[in-house]
Amino acid sequence: MKKFWILIKYEWLNFRADKGLLILVTLTLLAGLYGIYYGTTEVQRQQQNIAGLEKLTEHNVEELKAKYPEGTDAGDIGYYHSTFAVHHPDSWASLALGQRDVNPYYIKLRLLNLQSQLYDTENINPQKVLAGNFDLSFVLVYLFPLLIIGLCFNILSIEKEQGTLPLLLSQPISLPLIVGAKLTFRMLVVLGLGLLLSILAMIWGKVLPDGRVALWLGVVVLYCLFWFAVAFLVAALQKNSAFNAVTLLGVWLLLTIVIPALLNVYVSIKQPVPQALALTIQQREVVHGGWDKPKRETMDKFFALYPQWRDTTEIKERFVWRWYYAFHHLGDVAVQDLATQYKQTLLARHELVQKLNVLSVPVNVQGIFNAMAGSDLPSYVQFLQSATRYHDRLREFYYPFLFRQITFTHADFAREPRHSFASAPDMKSATAGLLKLLVSVGIVFGAGLLLFRWKTASVK
């Protein structure tokens, strides 16, 4: 054991003297700090924007109060009044922004048909979202492996190339001990950095300190161990430094870029989403067709869904709001199946990715991070469902006014339902991912050990 610590000490001295390695570690540290800064400011910005929506709603109410005196037709209010369904980020989102920049985090809603409003997008710069988020999860998933590769690609080969290996082995220390000590030292550096950045991000982002702290740190440790295992496996081949560098970078490229890109192609072909355009076309057709249908027919259809309003007065006027909102709702009903299928297909896509992520550890780990932060596709689909329920509540709030012809007073604005949705972490996917990660680390380390034994045996 003493020899082990002597080796570690000399590794440290070596490391301190090597400018290249120091630069590498410093760069990763800086990238990590920027990632934390970016993630937290981005989440803050979204929170501020969400808070700003409340002001817009208030402003809208003030405007309507000025425009319509006490006791007006609720139909006018429903048409001109807008409110928002909002999707609050989870406190962990600052560590893994996931798809939160692509998917809208609020939806402006009026009493009109939902399906023409539900999919409106936020102002996003496509070039920015194409480049992706430089958050902590990016630094951990993409850059940490590169750091590990940079630190480990010549772990054994450099001693051979400098001619120091025979010298070392002439001492009473074994090859496994040398490799073990060197790997341990590098693990201490990398894991120290990874854990430090993670904890810093948790404090900076003021995350909810629940079981996810342990889970996140565990995933970081395991993910780093995975890449150490890969480096160990390649070192066990006992080739020269150049070969190791190319092979390791090749593995990195394969796992973080090529396989995910191929998976993406596979998923989009295997699970197409044809519903979106069909849905958007059809709902318009039905809603606008509502104007031309006999009122009786429309109302009968509507009353079949809402029998409680059946006893209301027969419509004789050319235009009344309750008829207008009834055919708007029938537009939503007409595409209900498509809308459900749309959401199901999105979830099926996500499920497929969850199954395929065994092929790439980085995809799996990114998935765990996003699941923990509730920032992936399922959260967005849940938000869509929540917004749909909110729209139902809004309609049910207005229906008594419309069908019983109760006038809308200024005080009624305060009684209108409000919406708030916060994404929840998907702990089931996260733990399932953790299990897969554990298995991957085990397999690669096992393979490395076997290869190392076999190679060293053959050397002797």
Binding site: Q99, D120, N125, V129, V258, P274, T280, I281, G367
Partner: protein
């Protein structure tokens, strides 16, 4: 001498099994990306074409309606995929596919591919551009890292120099040899891409598309050449192959992974994007109150009525030959569109400022230069997207104003019940979209083009000077 060095590099590379395996892998990926790209962009294009035809048909055969109801019924613009976008998806997966065009209101482009995907899509997409931009440089690095270091390690550099060639002559010879090898890998894929394109479009292929394809290829060839020369220069600066390789891999990571993401994020941090909700509220506010805040919508309409009465010397609006409802609607549309467009321009201005950071970073990083140019030629960059959005907005405006005109001329004042037959709607041409010409696309990427050319010049001049000055031990 120079020729035989080039020949030697070419032959010895072909004899290197590892390199051959890697090249075959890259080539296979390139071919796969071509086929997959063509398939998926074809599918998307088909889907959008069908949708566009359907809505056009619906509009022309729509029921008898009041023109203003028709204005609310509106139409859709589905963004067609540009012919070459199968080579580089660019922003296409992150931009909306459909815009609903109605009176009074400018809607967002909805249903982007990215919104329908899990975060897997953020790892990148398998396209020809991706292989050319990211994987080819790696292959080049692998090919060239030992250009000088190997000669130094085996002691052959001195022997070569004693034959009377200069360092830069050796460098050029090697560059020639490597270029030939790279061409061998890239050519089949580019030929396949070109062939498939011809196969699909036959003789209908627009000369503009051909120009785009040629420039697309030319930019990549420049990019590869820059990487070859850069690798040779780096190799000349090092004594050992392994350090040369590690340096080059570091450069690759910085150029292809870190800088692109960091510069885009920096732009986003520096220039804040206003939310759509805030923008819509501002537009609404300005339209309602008038831009100066005094001239409200209702008072504007009153003033307009009075003006018309005075102008035509009648006492009431019903005596006017035109329907004042339509006129008021048209003036309102004009006003709100003007306000909206100002805000939209401000928004896109912000986006352009954000993107400018990446464009400037191209002077530090040839990867960004070629990426922007590649998207530009493929028609999947930000300017093309904006072009589509503006065309859709233009169509929306003309549709709304056309219907207002019908209301003003063919309907009576306060008439809300008359329905015009569907023949009226056939007077409106459906929405069509043409990708702008190649010169237009190039004009939007002058900065990136300058950066790429500058890089090419710099590596050839400064790089060679550096090689000539290196110490041979």
């Amino acid at each position: 001498m120079v020729k035989s060095i080039a020949q030697k590099e070419f032959i010895s590379t072909l004899r290197d099994r590892r390199f051959v395996v890697l090249s075959v892998l890259v080539l296979l990926l390139l071919l796969a990306a071509t086929v997959v790209g063509l398939y998926s962009s074809h599918t998307l294009q088909q889907e959008r074409e069908v949708a566009q035809e359907e809505v056009n048909h619906q509009f022309h055969n729509s029921a008898d309606r009041h023109p203003h109801r028709m204005a609310h019924y509106g139409s859709f613009a589905f963004r067609p995929k540009s012919t070459l976008s199968f080579l580089d998806f660019g922003l296409d997966s992150f931009t909306g596919a459909s815009v609903f065009m109605e009176a009074h209101k400018q809607n967002s482009a909805n249903f982007s591919q990215a919104q329908q995907s899990s975060s897997l899509i953020r790892f990148g997409e398998m396209t020809v551009a991706f292989v050319l931009q990211m994987l080819m440089p790696l292959l080049i690095i692998f090919l060239c890292f030992g250009a000088f270091t190997q000669e130094k390690e085996t002691g052959t550099l001195k022997i070569l120099l004693s034959q009377g060639v200069s360092l830069s002559q050796i460098a050029w010879a090697k560059i020639a040899g490597y270029s030939k090898t790279v061409a061998l890998v890239v050519t089949p894929a580019l030929l396949l891409a070109g062939g498939l394109l011809f196969g699909q479009n036959g003789l209908d292929l627009q000369p503009d598309t051909l120009w785009r394809l040629l420039l697309f290829m030319a930019f990549y060839l420049m990019y590869f050449f820059i990487f070859i020369v850069l690798s040779v220069v780096v190799s000349a600066l090092h004594q050992r192959s392994s350090t040369s390789l590690v340096t080059l891999l570091g450069i690759w990571i910085l150029c292809c992974v870190i800088i692109p993401k960091a510069s885009a994020n920096l732009g986003n941090t520096l220039y804040t994007t206003p939310t759509k909700a805030q923008m819509d509220a501002d537009v609404h506010e300005e339209v309602a109150k008038g831009i100066d805040g005094h001239n409200s919508q209702d008072s504007r309409a009153e003033a307009l009525k009075k003006d018309l009465l005075r102008k035509y010397g009648v006492d009431s609006v019903s005596q006017l030959l035109v329907n004042v409802d339509g006129i008021i609607m048209a003036v309102g549309e004009e006003q709100s569109t003007k306000v909206y467009r100002e805000h939209f321009e401000k928004l896109t201005g912000t986006f352009q400022k954000q993107n400018r950071i990446s464009e400037l970073a191209a002077f530090l990083n040839p990867y960004l230069a070629v990426r922007h140019l590649s998207m530009g030629m493929a028609g999947s960059d930000f300017p093309h997207y904006l072009h589509f959005q503006n065309k859709a907005e233009e169509y929306r405006y003309h549709l709304a104003q056309g219907l207002n005109h019908i209301q003003a001329t063919r309907l009576k004042y306060k008439d809300k019940t008359t329905r015009l037959s569907s023949d009226t709607w056939k007077e409106f041409k459906p929405f069509t979209y043409e990708t702008p010409p190649v010169q237009w696309a190039l004009r939007h990427h002058l900065l990136s083009l300058t950066a790429l050319v500058l890089w090419l010049g710099l590596v050839c001049t400064v790089g060679m000077r550096v090689i000539n000055k290196t110490q041979i031990v």
